[in-house]
Assembly symmetry: C2
Homo-oligomer: 425 residues x 2
């Protein structure tokens, strides 16, 4: 992890060399077969298992240095045998998925005989910038490789030794499978200037930046990047309980959506309840939440029916708590719920609980969020739960891909046109 | 066209108000029906026909002011009855296309019973920044509206009166159809600061910027934009004549690819010829080109067999001439051709002429360009020729969409999940 040792010509030069190697790796991968890629992934998984002792030793060094981390961050940084096995298994799961490259997305013949096919291709070079969790090193490498992309990995400094050990094992696997190791590179310095260089695109080498981490990291990447960014900003997710909600479903869904895990982006942060059912079903739901240890911040109507509720302030409607806190508001019907979500939401994931199909379909179609659910918990906002396999993140932008981003959306496409001498004339 | 008259609170405030109106327009369009949109498009086409006299009068004012324009630019700016009719017909053609919104792109059921659909939705608000051709005002408005997007149009100052007149007619059509006119706005000032505000995103209102114009405009937009950009940078397109090319096809394709129209982005700028056929087929092709008035800039091998050729310099391989000039190089087989295109091309459109299917398929798969053709002219790089209807541009980036961008790719998607009370538990 010594920047000087590996980047003797300075950060910019060293990073641009990484970019050039990545471009060569991407060119190599454009014609790699499915078998080539899957074989390399299996070898990488084996190498990670074989090198578990080295990876754990490197992780121990990171944990020794990590004296200022919160318990939650420390837990995210910690590796053990089970987590290493999960990492290796995760790589094998990616190998088992269908190859997203080469899929014929559309094909048609023109009146002049030209045969036009839209075919999925790799994006090229992906720059991955992430924080603390060392398993992202293996997950991102596997997903990018499966989709035929070279990847440049830049992990957090707290996990530098762990990331280096995981990367070394992964690359050893690639080499033993005969795959070009330039396809998966780890930035060998924790100098923050390296991130700045990546955001400038490494002289045109990087096609896409994917940040994965806290809001601060993602905001910096979005503000500074000169190349496209697939960003996951925040999940201010809502559940709307309609007047015609089934009470049992509504209680189960709200409790799960908020409390199953409070720290994930698909956790519900705001609850909207139709005024008509607030004193009945609404109070039952609020009791469930309070009983599970959730703090409730309500509007006037909520505070009037539920004494334990604190008064919500304007900023509460815009807050991703990632904690056992929920903001709750009474609304007069689905259109007011939609307006609230349009105004305060982050277009991530929203759910309606209702037995009225017409109202539910209106909610599903009118909202402009990546995921909209009817009678199901917002905590299903997850690539695995969607059956996509591993996800590289959940996109909150609107271009290229939204929601859980798996291997399928780590591709782009090109048009292949086959003719018999046609000219436009 | 008086900035002060319409933006009394200053450019930033005035532009942000335009952004807020566009967001309201986009929310309205999210639930507009296909019939609503098509009816409005037909009314807009009628209004443009009805107001032809006013549009021509406005265009005459622009042409009076346009004393410093080149003849080509002046031609692009000029409207006449035929061009106004073409504009109206173009809007009706967009109305006749299939509605891209609401398409079910994928749908599956999870083991827990959740029904997941990936459904095409509008992007939201599109900022369109373009130069001189006033017909873009109508074309872009129609395409964005069809795909359910609100659009903010910012045309070139030379065409300010023409754009305002076309926009006024278009909006009159929308109003007479009962469609919210906030869906199609024209920036009512030629102050360049307005473009800067659009590139900042108008306080989160703009989801996508599409620049259409010269390299200078597109480069400025890419450098300054804080929101996603769908850019068309340049088309350094290649034809590669393989040793096993059919001579007649090769001669016809190269002549068409270079000379049919030299000023469009799909025009070929560089010709690669297998060394083995350079003295025979190669010379015949060069004679065709020279005979049609094309200047030839060749490498040593080309200059040796064709006396009229000038010596190409390194920069010639990187130049989009948009003129009757071509750079020509001898190569030793398909892999050298691929390497040349990878090094110097702009990943827009490339063609191979060959009767050898294996070589051709290798070329088609190895190249990372938006469009690759086998035995057909690069001048087919066009939305109309692809059967997509009108295009808003040809994308040279790799994210979201590449190649001709029609209404289909002016959409994004969301996931609609229908359940029966499922919780993640």
């Amino acid at each position: 992890m010594n920047a000087r040792a590996t980047m003797t010509g300075g950060i910019a030069t060293g990073m641009n060399e990484i970019g050039m190697r990545a471009k060569a790796g991407a060119a190599y991968l454009r014609t790699a077969t499915t078998h080539d890629k899957n074989h390399a992934l299996h070898q990488a998984a084996s190498a990670i298992r074989d090198r578990a002792a080295q990876i754990l030793a490197a992780n121990a060094r990171d944990l020794e240095n990590a004296t200022t981390l919160s318990p939650a961050m420390s837990d995210r940084l910690t590796l053990n045998d089970a987590r290493i096995e999960a990492m290796a298994k995760g790589i094998e799961d990616v190998a088992a998925q269908a190859d997203p490259v080469g899929r014929e997305l559309a094909r048609w013949t023109r009146p002049n005989g030209l045969d036009i096919a839209r075919v999925a291709t790799p994006i090229g070079v992906i720059g991955m910038i992430y924080e603390s969790r060392p398993n992202v090193t293996a997950d991102a490498a596997a997903l990018c490789l499966k989709a035929g992309n070279a990847v440049i990995l830049r992990g957090g400094s707290e996990a530098a030794h762990s990331n280096a050990a995981i990367h070394a094992a992964f690359v050893e696997g690639l080499r033993s499978a005969g795959l070009d190791a330039r396809c998966v590179q780890l930035v060998p310095t924790t100098d923050r200037a390296a991130v700045g260089e990546m955001l400038k695109g490494l002289d045109g080498a990087i096609d896409l930046i994917i940040p994965r981490g806290g809001k601060g990291l993602v905001a910096r990447v979005q503000a500074e990047a000169r190349v496209p960014v697939l960003a996951h900003l925040e999940g201010i997710c809502h559940v709307y309980v309609h007047a015609k909600a089934d009470a049992a479903k509504a209680r189960a869904i709200v409790l799960d959506a908020k409390m199953r895990r409070t720290g994930i982006c698909g956790a519900t942060e705001s609850l909207l309840i139709d005024r008509a059912v607030l004193p009945s079903l609404g109070v039952a739901i609020l009791k469930d939440l309070a009983g599970a240890g959730c703090e409730i911040r309500g509007d006037d109507a909520v505070c009037a029916v539920f004494a334990k509720a604190a008064r919500a302030r304007e900023e509460d409607w815009r807050t991703e708590y990632l904690d056992a806190i929920i903001s709750v508001r009474a609304v007069d019907g689905v259109d007011e719920a939609i307006r609230h979500i349009d105004t305060y939401g982050s277009r991530h994931t929203e759910a309606i609980v209702s037995e009225d199909a017409q109202v539910a379909e209106h909610f599903l179609s009118a909202l402009d969020s990546a995921i909209v659910l009817w009678n199901a918990s917002t905590q299903f906002a997850d690539g695995g739960e969607f059956g996509m396999g591993a996800e590289i993140g959940i996109g909150t932008g609107k271009l290229h891909a939204r929601g859980p981003v798996g291997v399928e959306h780590l591709t782009t496409f090109k048009y292949i046109v086959r003719g018999a001498g046609q000219v436009r004339g």
